[in-house]
Symmetry: C2
Subunit: 125 residues, 2 copies
């Protein structure tokens, strides 16, 4: 199925590009001019399939999306940790990659690593 370029996709992509944080559906929606809910979800899912973005599931189960630095449809590198602040709720990607070793016979498909706590700005000092 060949992808088509659309204003909605461009808009969502530009929103993702504009932030240093992973974003959830409603934050993205707030910044669009009435793109349908379902459409935004479908666009984000496509981005994940295509290696344009990656999905982070927060502790509450909500999904966040961040641009991929070096992924494409075939090859993904997502063995890095994320951090969500329990106060401002921002989700950010950490750079350092972690080493994942699996028991014999196991195969990894994806990794979702999320640290929760308080970010620099929100931590009670």
């Amino acid at each position: 199925m060949k992808r088509r370029n659309t204003p909605s996709k461009e808009k969502v992509l530009s929103i993702l590009k504009s932030q240093n944080y992973a974003m959830c559906h409603d934050t993205i929606a707030e910044q669009t001019d009435d793109i349908n809910r379902a459409t935004i979800y479908r666009i984000l899912n496509q981005f994940c399939e295509d290696g344009v973005a990656h999905r982070i599931t927060s502790e509450s189960g909500k999904q966040f999306f961040a641009l991929c630095k070096s992924c494409n449809a075939g090859e993904h590198h997502h063995n890095h940790l994320h951090f969500q602040c329990n106060s401002c709720e921002k989700v950010e990607c950490f750079k350092s990659e972690i080493n994942i070793s699996l028991p014999e016979g196991y195969q990894i498909e994806n990794f979702n690593g999320l640290i929760s706590g308080f970010c620099n700005s929100c931590a009670p000092n």
Copy 2:
């Protein structure tokens, strides 16, 4: 608020003890004799507060619960990874603890690390 012992709590606890895997709400419910949905959720949340169990959020956002080995209400040790099989959907705790280092000023409250893929039994070889 002082905890009370009840048959429902004992039942849920014994179910958790009976499995080597983290369990989700409905798997637990299947094994009970009609404990109310909300009650099971409340019991599981209590267990997490009390350091009896810990919660793992799966990639889809569903919650799984596993007994804690060495936690109590005050002190938690959950810096280990989990694995969910995309085929049989079982969630298991991995033993090895991972080292989490945070940027200056960040505070960790919890860690949710989940590898998804295929387990030993389900991996296409």
